[in-house]
Structures are given as structure tokens and as C-alpha cells.
Symmetry: D2
Subunit: 340 residues, 4 copies
């Protein structure tokens, strides 16, 4: 069985494992106040060219919840694509902290500056707006849950609208590395610090055992964030584990190199599928591919391969998701292609 | 200026005012444990032919919040029409207590048994359903926010689905009287106790100064409800004010008679508008009418009449809402018709 | 049966009732945006000599919840006396919106500037303070739940500490009138606008059917308050009912006169009890009295009088509460005294 | 510098590290549905002799929040010692999910069956109990935050009260191993499945990098727990990391052996301190010791040793905390003793 279900089927890169092993019996204080975390924070600030605050959290739902809890007042909501992770796949985590996710219809997982502007304008144009949830933040994923990317122009337009309308922009970068290394990406990591109020650099899906590095750019979101992380159960006791992993990921551009590896194999897989006449539900230039395949073939594949079932397309065909990752081997991709 | 904006522009019926005046200097215990509340609860149980619990609350948002807070566990959500009051007009009250409103597209303000069934089935069919909000209640309004009604067959089908799927059905009856007295209504008030788990009989819009009578039919929703009413700030200190008003409303069928008065005038207004060739956005058989009128005419009307602006229809015409109520006079309707 | 249980056993003053009756068939817009509310707000601003914002709410728990929800961030808590209303008698309303009530031991229902300062200092002195709830507001009641009062000097000291420590001060004035009219009170209503960030003028217990006038002095608490009132189910549909009542209460100093009436009768009752050798649990100079009486006598009184049982004092004696109010008659007090 | 600050200064035991290393490149499904988690769950059920449900979470605050969110209805609160972790050290996590922590005064970190019974009885005896938070769960820590233990008789008495009063009992076992291996402990791990409704076996402080194994004994708490874990951000993507660690901890009684190691060294340290005439604030028979030492000596120790400052005892002496753990060496203890 070779799994292409998702990008977190294995543990961590060798470099991360070595770092954890090497530092295992070191003694340090807890909760992220140790030297490894401090060093990793500085490395990330340097690579992003920002003096934003960096916090390490264990997972994405936790990170999203912490940022949104920090940013919004009780009557405010967060705008997101209807396909956004906070809209559908966090078991109501955002509502559980009191906030509505104001969903916009998305195309290929993306929403536009125009949609966000219209949403905010419609709110204030309504004479009963005090009876409605006030939009106060836009949430986008980069790459999106459909594997697609915002161009630099698109992101600039979105952030411009957010600033003009007085709402925050927050970017979920669970798969940030895979986005940045895509051939179609015209953004680099330093752009993010200038084009949103907060974003996170995903580790769980990009080489770490677990861990996300939250970068808070906007000063008004910085105060007392550690209290809220603790309240959400997100302040890891042995916080240095996060520092150690991010040190390893940002040493020698490891984070970018392993992301590029995943992209190279995704390109190979995509080209192979296209050469066999396979169509795709979303046109993803990153590590998640969404081919449409006959149900019969999918049934057969299950004997040897893992994938995520996505949705029915017609009565004989379905869309599934294949992910590559830092851990995928070229042989695995070849074997999958042979079987399709 | 004659207001047709909504059905709560005046105070209360003479009978309610007399009852409040007459009982004003009586002494009673607080929080709804007085004799007037006890009597009004019994009157309502008798008229509804139910042994459900009856609680009096001040307003609709409060009532909806209390019921939903009582019924749902933290990971659960409530299904509602996208036009439902809890979906759009309660400033995120439902999210503020931790629950997602799972919206379904509606037609003329209504959702169907089939939609509810599909929504629940889709949840459990998804292999990642533990990552999604679990639907656990359906919320409908009777009449809807568009003035429309569910037929008895439609309501039976909805409740049947809810029972089969193990979710609650809750009916928001802010304008219940106006629904029951519509010519098109084939339900009577005793049907509600058999066709849902909880519903409320609206007083604020139907003759009272304020007040809603919540009827909790399902035993599992009865326990400790007063704690939750208190926690939500809904336990009126001088609770007897609610008892006194509902006594007056249900004495001599007052509630139904005043509702019928509103319906009669709505019918007259509707017929008058139709005779002038006016079209309607929703086909409402109750006290809310949604005519489409030229913007120019609407502008002119504003000098003498109040209405609620609803939505733009095309570049020259808009839909507005005219409401009749227990307090509307025939002269007012005549005068409005003359001016259109 | 004559009730001294509490100060909300009757309806409203004749002036309030007359105003409601007179305006009953007026038409107005909803949710507090009508002319009566506007006028009442201006009257209150004038009497308090403040340009703070005034909002009308139905009850005290609702008002407390709205203010605290508006003021605190998620990791913050509110300091209160262990006997404070929000600490014990709101069914967890404050916790239900996510905030800890940080209780301080109280004497006769009061807390001191020194205690508040020590509480805040202790928080920041603790090296693990990010793991603890951050105190961000002090809540006091005036009069307290024990009927006692803060002197002007005490209140100045408390507000001074709050400002120095960067926390809000909020005053629950459910019985404000009865405090202001006490012989021992050296504050007048204009002082409150200068000695806290927000306070409310209680109507429910002081002459109205229901209603509290929230005065928000601090600009940072003003923004979007109506959204939060709506979200908490506190935006009364027929909001003008609150405006009409407060107009009546503040016309011709009615509010102060009726409060003085209650104080005069409380003084008479207290003097009468003292002359019979009765001791008191709290030394209240306001309309709530807390005499300690033999259980046998209390049992006997129940035949003709209502009171609130407070607490056991020893195996033969208990403390109970007698309240006078705007509605209490001198005969009632005489009769009670005759029976003790 | 040798750290005795806490029991989570190092990474994990060699066995845990080896298991993580060995399984690192295995592919598995996420979120705890893999074979390692399944195996670890079975091992824990076997060692505890229970057919309760076992869930793995990353940390203690998360675990406590999930259990309490699952168990309580909105108007209910959880009884805890005033020194309990949920009372003081979780940044308001319990309040953030809407529940009051009802604190009881504790002695040496412990509360009694009698106190719990009195607390519940007092609630229902109060005629205004619907205005108060309803106690619905008791929370105790084993060992307590003061290092002390409940005897089997004490725990039986507490659970008996809880069952009689209809409230849940939940035990926070962050340091469970260190409690079980204490000479003074008369409970073994199989007792817990019979003496509470849910408890957790702490891994973070006892040999794992991170991780707690929650054992849910009471059937009514089992339903849909994974939704709530996900909602709280506690469903680790690479869930197998938790399974792998707990497999290693429960293979060959590792968990108990490493706990015993910590206890042996704590005993040695305690005996050494006692022989030097040192007194203790709490009489702890587990791995946390609370000696009272002169401030001057404490200042001097800081050059070479880490400890947690606990509290001032008098103007020249303070209490501090020394922890031993699975990772403490005998040399470290000797060196500390030499320096005192």
C-alpha cells in the first residue's frame, strides 16, 4: 500500500528527527521560552524579513482559532471561501469561540477582492446591519484547499480592500511551502509579511512531526497572544520541540528544498495523468492533485494505493485527491502512474 | 405618517393594556413563579392541547437562543433556511453561544423535508464527518420571514424526517397568529404540539407589549430550562407582566381574533394592489406583503407612509414590505391604496 | 399577605403607567431608534451631566453581560466581590460569555481599592501570569447586594486604582436611586459619570415595569454596542417602551422622589426594629434591611408577610431581608412592626 | 545548570525516542485512526482493566477542556480545589467554554467528599438555585498540584458522593505515574476505572515528548467525543505519534518503572533535605517537593540549579518546588543536596 491520501502520512524529515534526537536530553524551560524557540523565531523573522511576532503552535485548527479569537470582537465574523478549512473542516471551532464564518462562493477554492469588498459594503448598506454579524476579517488559504494559488496581484488587491474597509487579512499557510515552490507562484515568503496582518507557515504538512509558525505582522494583534494560546490549550509544555523542529526546517533552506521535491513529483504525476487523458476537477499547480477517474479504476487502485475520495462527478466517475509531499519517492509516483 | 414598516409599531391591545393596568399594584413573587404566569401557562396548554412545558420570554432572539442552547451539544449545529431569522438577523446570537447555523437555500423562505434529509445524510456519508459540524436540529419559521406558510403535509414530512434522523425540530412562531388565521393555513394551533419538539407563540408582534410563549413538547428539552433562561438574561424580574399579557391574549380567543383582523386587512391590501397590476416578490398569504413598486412611486409614498425597504429588483423597481397587524385600521389601508 | 420580599413585587408608578397608556397607540420605529428613547437619553445625559452614550435594556443580568462582553478580551476576567450579583446570582451568565469572575472576599458587600490593586499586582507579579486569567475590569454594585454604600472617597480611590492599573470600572446600579437618596450617601448622580467607565441606572427595581439605562462614559466602550445588545437578545423590539418609561421616571425628579419614599419607609422600619432590640447582619442605610430574628417569629410572620430568607445565623435565629420600595405604604410598615 | 523546575524539562525516554525513530517513515492515516493508536488503546484498556474509551490528546489543558465541554450543559459548573489546575493555571480555558469553576478551599491541594456533598446540597437548598451555577462535576488531580495523594478510602468516598448526587467525577492524572509509584499510594491503575467517570494518564510529564491518554469510563460521556476533540484543536494530524509513544510507555511496564525512578530520587532528596532540618510546605510523597528555604540560600542556588518559586513564607524564607522525573539522575540529586 502506497499512500497518496494526504501530505501528513509520514513522520518528519531526517534533519528534523536528528535535531530532536540530538537535543532530547537537554534541559530547558517550558512553553516556548527556551533558546531553541528564540532562535527559530529569529530565523523565521530573518527569512520573512519582518519584525512581526512569531509563535509556535501544534496544529492548524488551533492556530486559526487563536488568531480569530484574538482579532475579532464578539459581534464580528470572518469572511472565508465556502471551501475554506475554517468553513467546513474544523468541527465548528470558529463558532465554538463565538464567531460566524461568513462564507462566499468560491471558484477553484479562491475568493476575490471584489467579493470581499461587496460583502463588507453590503453589510453597511443594510439599514439593519446592527442585527447582522459584522465582517471584520478575511481568511484565505495559500495554497487553497483545492491546491490553487493567489497571484501576487490578486493578493495585493485583497489586502488593499481589507485595509480600505478596515478589516484584517489572515492567511492560512498550512501548505505554504508547497505553494511557494510551485512554478506558478509569483510570491516569495517575504511578500507575506507585507500583504496581510497575520499568516502561518505550516510545518505539520511540510516536514515536521507537527507544528505551525504563526507570524503576527499587525501590531494590534500582538498583545497578550500567549494568554490566548494557553487558553486554547495550544501552549505546548515542552515548547522547545517546536523550536527545534523549525530550526531544522529553516536551516539551509530545508523547508523550501523539501517543498520543491514535492512539487517536482506532483508535476511528474500531473503530466503522467494528463498524458493518459485524465481531466482534473481543479487546476492545481501545487502538491494536491484532483483527477477525475472512473469508479471502477478507483476501486481497483485501492488494493495498492491510498487516496482521498473527493466527490462524485457523474454516475461513473469521481474526483479523488492525490497528494505528494516531502516524503514521496519517485518510485511511488511511477508505480501509481503505471497502475492508471 | 402611517407606518406599515412592521407589525410592532404600536404598543398592545386594549385588553392587554387593561389587564396590565388592573393588576399593576398587585404584589407577586418574581421570575414567572406567580399566579398569573401559572394561569397563562395552563391556558396555553389547554388551547394547544399539550402537557408540554410553557415558558415566557421577552423576545424572539432570546427565545431562539435559549432553545438552541438547551438542545445542542457543543459540536452540533442547527439547520435553517438561508433567509431564516437566526441565519441573518440576530447579530450572530447563535454563533455567540457556540453553534453553527447550517444554511440551506430556500424558496419563498421555506426549506423542505428532502433538503433536511439530504443535509443530514450528507454529513454522515462524509468520511471526515467528525471534522464537520453535526446537524442536530432543524429550525423553521411559521410563517416564514417571507410571509409564506408550510402546509400540514409539508410540516408532517419535515417532522417525520427529523424524527427518523434523530434531530430536533423547532418552530419560530414570532407571527404564529397571523399564520394560523391565514385562509391558506390548514394547521391549527393544536397541530404544533404534535409536529415539533418545541415552538413559540409570538406575542410581541401579535398584540402584546412584548413576550413570547415557548412551548417545549419534547421531554428531553425540559430539564433545567429556567437556569438557561436566567443565564441568557431572559428571566424577567417582574415575570408576571408576561403572564398577565398572555392571560389577556388567550381570554376569549383574543389572540386569534386580532390575528384575523390583520389577515383581513392584508387580504384587502393585497387585492387592492393586485387590482392595480402590482406584482409581488413572495406570494404571501399572511400579514407581510412584498410588492414590487417603481422607485419613483416609493420615494413619493415616503412622505405619508412607512414601509421596509426589502431589495432592489431591477434598476427602476424595488421590493418593499408592508405589514398589517392587530393595530392596523381599515382607513389606513384604504389611504395607502389610494396613494398607489 | 404583604410582601417585603424584594423591590419588584408591584408593576410601575402611576406616572409610568400613564405614560405607557397615553402613548400606547402611537406608531414608532423599533429597537430604540424612536423619539421617546432619544428624548429619554437626552434627559439622562442632562441629569448625569455627561455626554456618554445611553442605552436602554430590559434587565440587569442582560446589562451586566453586555458591558462585560463589550469590555473584555477573551483571556480577561472581571474582579467582583464574592457577594456580587455577577458572582453568584446570574446562573453563570458571565462565564457563559467566556469570562472568569475573579472574586474577592467582601465586607458588608464591599471591596476596597487596596484589594483591587493587590489583585492586579499579584497577577503581574506571578511569573506564570500568562497561564492565569488577566484582571481587566472591576465590578461593584451601588448600593451593594447587602444594601451598603461606597462613600465618595472610597469610590474615588477605587477608580483611581483602576485607572492606574489600566482596568475598567463598571458600576451595577440596579438600585441606584435607593442609594442616592440614602442619608448616608455623599455622592450624587453626576458623580458617577466621573468616577467609572460605565454604570447603569436601575429602573426595574425603581418605578418602572422593567428597564435599565446603561450609561457608557469611556469612549473605548462605545463602539458597536448595539450589535452586542442585539446578540445578547437585549434589543427590545418595541424599544420605545423603555424610552417612555425613563421619560416618566426622569420627569420632575420622579426617580429621586420615589426612591426617597422607599428610604423614608426603610428608615422607619429600621428604627422600629432597633427599638425592639433587633440586630442586623449588615448595616444597610438603604431600602434593603437584613434583621436577625428568631426562627419561631419568622415562621409566624409568614402567615401575613413575605420576606426573603437570607441565611442561618445560629440554631435559633436567621437573617432575612425586608425591602421597601417606591410602592411600599406606611401602613404596610406599621403593620409589619406591630407583628414583630 | 541542573534543572529541578518541573518534570518536563527533557524530551522523552530512550524507548519512546527509539519507537518514534523506527516508525518515522511508516505511512499511516491521520487523526488517531492508525494501527499504533489502536494498539496503544488496547494496551491501556488491558492495563486498566476497563472497556472504557481511550483517546489521545497532546496536553493537559486540552484534555481537561474536552472532558468538561463534553460533560456539562451550559448552566453547569465544575467543582474543584482552589489550588486545582483548572482553577488557576489554564488562562480561563474552562470559562472560555462557558463554565464556572466552583472552587472549594483545599488542604494540601485536596478536597473532601464532605465538601463536595455540602456544595451540591447547598445549591439545591437555596430557593434561588436556578439563578446560580449548578454543580455537575467534581474535578480532582491525582497527585494534586501540591504533590499529595488521595487514599483509596478518600477516593471511594468522593466517588460515592458524586454518584449519589448525580454529578460526574473526573480525575486529572497529569502525573499519574508518579502518584501510583509513591510508597504512600494504596491505589493501583485498575482502581481508577472503577472510581471515576473519566481520568487521564499523563504522558507529557512521564516519559513522552507530549501526550495524555484520556480514559472515558462512563458511557454517557463517550458519544461524539472526537468531534469535540477536533473542535478544541486537539485532534493531532499525525495522531500516530501519540499511539507510538504510548505503545512504548506501556511496553514492559516502562511507564511504571520510570515513575518509580522519579519517586526513588524524590525520596532520596526529601530525606536529604529533612536530615538538614528543612521543613516543607506540603507533605508530598510524590515527585514534587516543596521545601522552605532561606531566601539567601535560594539566591545562591540559582547559580547552579533551576527550581520553581512557589510562595513567600515569611520575610526571610520562601517555599520553592523541586521536581524529579524519569530523567533525573542520582548525581543531580546528590549535587543539589551538597549545595544546600
Amino acid at each position: 500500500m502506497i499512500r497518496f491520501d494526504c501530505d501528513y502520512t509520514e513522520g518528519c524529515t531526517q534533519a528534523v528527527l536528528d535535531a530532536l534526537t540530538k537535543t532530547n536530553m537537554e534541559q530547558s524551560v517550558g512553553y516556548g521560552e527556551d533558546a531553541h524557540c528564540e532562535n527559530a523565531r529569529n530565523m523565521i523573522k530573518a527569512v520573512c524579513k519582518t519584525d512581526g511576532d512569531v509563535h509556535f503552535l501544534v496544529g492548524g485548527t488551533q492556530t486559526n482559532t487563536v488568531v480569530i479569537k484574538t482579532a475579532l470582537r464578539p459581534h464580528q465574523g470572518v469572511i472565508a471561501a465556502d471551501s475554506g478549512h475554517i468553513s467546513v473542516h474544523e468541527s465548528g471551532a470558529i463558532e465554538s469561540i463565538g464567531h460566524k464564518v461568513i462564507t462566499l462562493p468560491s471558484e477553484q477554492g479562491k475568493i476575490t477582492a471584489g467579493q470581499i469588498e461587496a460583502c463588507v459594503d453590503a453589510h453597511y448598506a443594510d439599514s439593519t446591519h446592527e442585527h447582522m454579524v459584522q465582517p471584520a476579517m478575511a481568511y484565505i488559504s495559500f495554497p487553497t484547499e483545492c491546491g490553487t494559488l493567489y497571484s501576487k496581484a490578486e493578493l495585493e488587491a485583497i489586502y488593499d480592500v481589507c485595509k480600505r474597509k478596515g478589516i484584517y487579512l489572515y492567511i492560512d499557510g498550512a501548505r505554504l511551502g508547497y505553494g511557494l515552490e510551485s512554478d506558478e507562484c509569483d510570491l516569495d515568503i517575504t511578500d507575506f509579511a507585507n500583504l496581510c496582518d497575520a499568516f502561518y507557515i505550516g510545518g505539520t504538512k511540510v516536514g515536521a512531526l507537527f507544528g505551525e509558525a504563526l507570524v503576527v505582522v499587525n501590531d494590534t494583534l500582538k498583545k497578550d497572544l500567549r494568554y490566548i494560546i494557553k487558553q486554547q490549550g495550544g501552549l505546548l509544555a515542552k515548547g522547545r520541540l517546536l523550536g527545534v523542529q523549525f530550526e531544522a526546517l529553516f536551516e539551509n533552506d530545508e523547508y523550501f528544498k523539501i517543498s520543491r521535491h514535492a512539487i517536482d513529483l506532483a508535476k511528474k504525476l500531473k503530466a503522467g495523468l494528463e498524458s493518459k487523458g485524465v481531466n482534473f476537477l481543479f487546476n492545481s499547480p501545487t502538491n494536491q492533485l484532483f483527477p477525475i477517474l472512473p469508479d471502477e479504476k478507483l476501486e481497483e487502485l485501492l488494493k495498492d494505493f491510498g487516496y482521498s475520495y473527493w466527490q462524485r462527478v457523474d454516475d461513473k466517475n469521481s474526483c479523488v485527491r492525490f497528494c505528494t509531499s516531502w516524503a514521496t519517492s519517485e518510485q511511488a509516483v511511477n508505480k501509481l502512474l503505471e497502475n492508471i
